[in-house]
C-alpha cells in the first residue's frame, strides 16, 4: 500500500517540475523564434538544431545533463527544457514565417511599421501553429518529467523507479497512473483551449 499523501506530494512535485520547465521553454523559445525571423543564419541554425534534438532519445538528453550540470531539480528542469524548447521554437518560427509575403508587403504599403506588422499580421496568423507547438511541448514535458527522477528530480517518476527496483507493483502504479491521468488532462485541456483560441476565420 502506498500512502495517499505520498502520491499527492509526488504529483504536485511532478507538475511543478514539468510546468516550470514548460514555462521557461516558452519564455526562451518565443523571442528566439522572433529573432530567427530577422536573421536567416540564426533561423537555419535553430531549425537544424531543433530537428537534430528531436531525433535524440529523451533518455539520452536526461543522461547527458548529469556530467554537464549534475543532478537534482534544476538539472532536471534543464533536461526537460532542452526537449520542450524545440517544438515551440520550430512551430512559432514556422507560424510566423509561413505567412504569404503579399500580406506583409501590402501591410507595409498601407503604412504599418515593422512592429505593427508583427503585432497585427504575423502573430495572429501564427497563433494556431504556436499553440500546437506548446501543446506538444507540454505532453513531452509531462513524459520526460518521469524520466528525470533518475537524476534526482523527485516527483512521480521516483515512485515508478522505486517500484521497479523493489518489484512493488502498487508503487509502480502509484507513480504511473497519475502521470497517465495528467497526460490525458493535458491533452483534453489543451484541446479545449485550442478550440476557444482558434480564430473564428479558421473555423469552418
Amino acid at each position: 500500500m502506498v500512502i495517499f499523501s505520498v502520491i499527492t506530494d509526488a504529483t504536485v512535485e511532478h507538475i511543478i517540475l514539468a510546468y516550470s520547465a514548460l514555462f521557461v521553454s516558452i519564455v526562451i523559445a518565443i523571442p528566439l523564434a522572433f529573432a530567427s525571423l530577422y536573421s536567416t543564419r540564426l533561423a537555419s541554425i535553430v531549425i537544424k538544431f531543433a530537428n537534430l534534438a528531436q531525433a535524440v532519445p529523451s533518455f539520452a538528453v536526461v543522461a547527458i545533463v548529469v556530467p554537464l550540470i549534475g543532478i537534482g531539480f534544476t538539472p532536471a528542469v534543464i533536461a526537460i527544457m532542452l526537449r520542450a524548447l524545440l517544438p515551440i521554437i520550430k512551430n512559432t518560427y514556422i507560424g510566423l514565417s509561413n505567412i504569404d509575403p503579399l500580406f506583409i508587403e501590402y501591410a507595409k504599403g498601407i503604412g504599418l511599421t515593422d512592429w505593427q506588422i508583427n503585432r497585427y499580421i504575423r502573430i495572429p496568423n501564427a497563433y494556431p501553429a504556436m499553440f500546437a507547438g506548446i501543446k506538444f511541448a507540454a505532453i513531452l514535458a509531462n513524459s520526460i518529467a518521469i524520466l528525470t527522477a533518475i537524476i534526482g528530480s523527485g516527483g512521480l517518476g521516483e515512485l515508478v523507479f522505486e517500484g521497479l527496483i523493489a518489484f512493488n507493483t502498487d508503487k509502480i502504479l502509484a507513480g504511473a497512473l497519475p502521470a497517465i491521468i495528467l497526460a490525458f488532462f493535458i491533452d483534453v485541456s489543451f484541446s479545449i483551449l485550442e478550440r476557444i483560441l482558434t480564430p473564428v476565420y479558421l473555423k469552418s
Binding site: 500580406f103 508587403e105 498601407i110 503604412g111 504599418l112 496568423n125
Partner: protein
C-alpha cells in the same frame, strides 16, 4: 499619435529622370512622368515593362537608384515612409485582405492605428461599404474568405479610401477577375471615380480598361515611357508601331456593318444561369461560391431577365425569389447586326443585352464594351 496629413490635395506628382536597377536588369530607365492633380493616369504595357515598379516607387515600397520623385514639389524622400504611405491609398491585384480580420477590422486597421475611436471607425466603415455598394449590415462582420472575388475587390477599394487619401495607387485592381465581373466593376468604378475626385495612378495591361477609365494613358515598354496622352491622341497619332499595336489603332477602320452581335459579346457559361424559383439568399450564396455578380434568370428554361449581386444582397432578409425582383433584359440573336442591336438598346435605355443562340443564352452584350471596341 495620429499621423499628420501631408497634403489635402494633389497638384502634381512628378518623376524626374527616375531609374531603378536590380543588378544587371533595368526595371525603370530615366523615366520622366507627371501625374496631374485630379486625373486618372493609366500606365499600360507588357509585363516587365516597369509600370508596377514605377507605381511602387511613389509610396516608397521601392526606392529609386537615381532621379527625384516629388509630390506637390516636396521630395518624397524627405517624408517618413510610414507617414507617406498613410497618405496614399493602395489597391493591389491580389487585394491582400487580411484573412484573420473581419471586413470592419480590415478597413478600420489604419484608422485604428491612427487612434480613431471605435465609433468613428464603425461610422467610416459603414460609409465606405455603402460607397462601394455593399450593405454594411451583411458585410461588416464577415471574413474575407466568405466573400466573392468581386466583393473582396470592392472591400479592397474601400480599405484604400479609409483615410480619405488625396492620392490613390491602383495596381491592376481588376486583373484577377473574370471578364464580365471586370466590366461590371469598371463601370462602377467609373461612377465612383467622379465622386471621389482624387488623383489616381492606375496600372493595367488591358487596353480596353485603359480606354474606359483613363483620362490619360502612358505606354511603357522595356523600362521606358514610350508615349503619354489622351486615348484620342494615342489612337490618332501613335508615336510608333508598338503604340499603335497596343492601342490597336487599326480598329477605327473596322466596318461596323460587317459586325454581328456574336463578334462583340462576352460568352457566358451555365454558371450565369439561375432559376427564377431560387430565393435571393440562395442566389447570393451561389454567386459568392462561383464568383459571379450577375446572373440571367430562367423561368422554365426561358430567360426572363437578369439580377445583380448588388441588388440581391439588399433582398436576402426578405422572402423573395428571383422571379419577384428580376430586371427585364433585351434579347438578341447572335446573328443580329451590331447596328440594329445598338439601336434597340438605345431605345430601351439599357446598357446590357442577352444573346441567344439555338434557344440557349450564349453571351452578354455590353453597350460600353461595344462602343469602346468600335471607338
Amino acid at each position: 499619435m495620429p499621423t499628420q496629413r501631408l497634403f489635402d490635395r494633389i497638384n502634381s506628382v512628378h518623376l524626374q529622370q527616375v531609374t531603378k536597377q536590380y543588378g544587371e536588369h533595368v526595371a525603370v530607365k530615366q523615366l520622366d512622368l507627371e501625374i496631374q492633380g485630379g486625373e486618372l493616369l493609366i500606365l499600360i504595357g507588357p509585363s516587365g515593362s516597369g509600370k508596377t515598379t514605377t507605381l511602387r516607387m511613389i509610396n516608397r515600397l521601392i526606392e529609386p537608384d537615381e532621379g527625384v520623385i516629388t509630390i506637390n514639389d516636396h521630395n518624397i524622400m524627405d517624408f517618413d515612409p510610414v507617414r507617406l504611405r498613410r497618405n496614399i491609398g493602395y489597391v493591389i491585384q491580389d487585394i491582400g485582405l487580411f484573412p484573420h480580420m473581419t471586413i470592419r477590422e480590415n478597413i478600420g486597421l489604419v484608422p485604428r492605428l491612427e487612434g480613431w475611436s471605435g465609433q468613428e471607425i464603425s461610422d467610416r466603415v459603414r460609409h465606405l461599404l455603402d460607397f462601394v455598394s455593399l450593405s454594411p449590415e451583411s458585410f461588416m462582420d464577415r471574413y474575407p474568405r466568405q466573400l466573392s472575388g468581386g466583393q473582396q475587390q470592392r472591400i479592397g477599394l474601400a480599405r484604400a479610401l479609409a483615410m480619405d487619401p488625396p492620392l490613390l495607387l491602383m495596381d491592376e485592381p481588376f486583373g484577377a477577375l473574370d471578364p464580365i465581373l471586370r466590366k461590371q466593376l469598371q463601370d462602377e468604378f467609373n461612377i465612383i471615380k467622379q465622386e471621389i475626385g482624387r488623383t489616381i495612378l492606375f496600372v493595367t495591361h488591358d487596353i480596353d480598361e485603359a480606354f474606359k477609365l483613363g483620362d490619360r494613358i502612358g505606354i511603357m515598354s522595356d523600362a521606358r515611357l514610350i508615349q503619354i496622352g489622351t486615348p484620342e491622341e494615342l489612337i490618332l497619332h501613335p508615336e510608333n508601331e508598338l503604340v499603335s499595336d497596343i492601342v490597336d489603332a487599326k480598329k477605327k477602320f473596322k466596318h461596323m456593318d460587317t459586325l454581328r452581335v456574336k463578334d462583340m459579346m462576352s460568352p457566358i457559361t451555365d454558371t450565369y444561369l439561375f432559376d427564377a424559383g431560387m430565393t435571393a439568399q440562395d442566389a447570393v450564396k451561389r454567386m459568392t461560391q462561383t464568383n459571379v455578380e450577375l446572373a440571367i434568370v430562367l423561368d422554365n428554361s426561358v430567360p426572363v431577365g437578369y439580377v445583380e449581386m448588388a441588388h440581391l444582397v439588399q433582398q436576402i432578409y426578405y422572402d423573395v425569389t428571383l422571379r419577384d425582383i428580376v430586371e427585364p433584359i433585351p434579347i438578341f440573336s447572335s446573328n443580329d447586326h451590331i447596328a440594329s442591336a445598338l439601336e434597340k438598346l438605345k431605345d430601351r435605355g439599357g446598357s446590357l443585352g442577352l444573346v441567344m443562340e439555338a434557344e440557349r443564352p450564349s453571351g452578354l452584350f455590353f453597350l460600353n464594351d461595344v462602343l469602346l471596341r468600335l471607338i
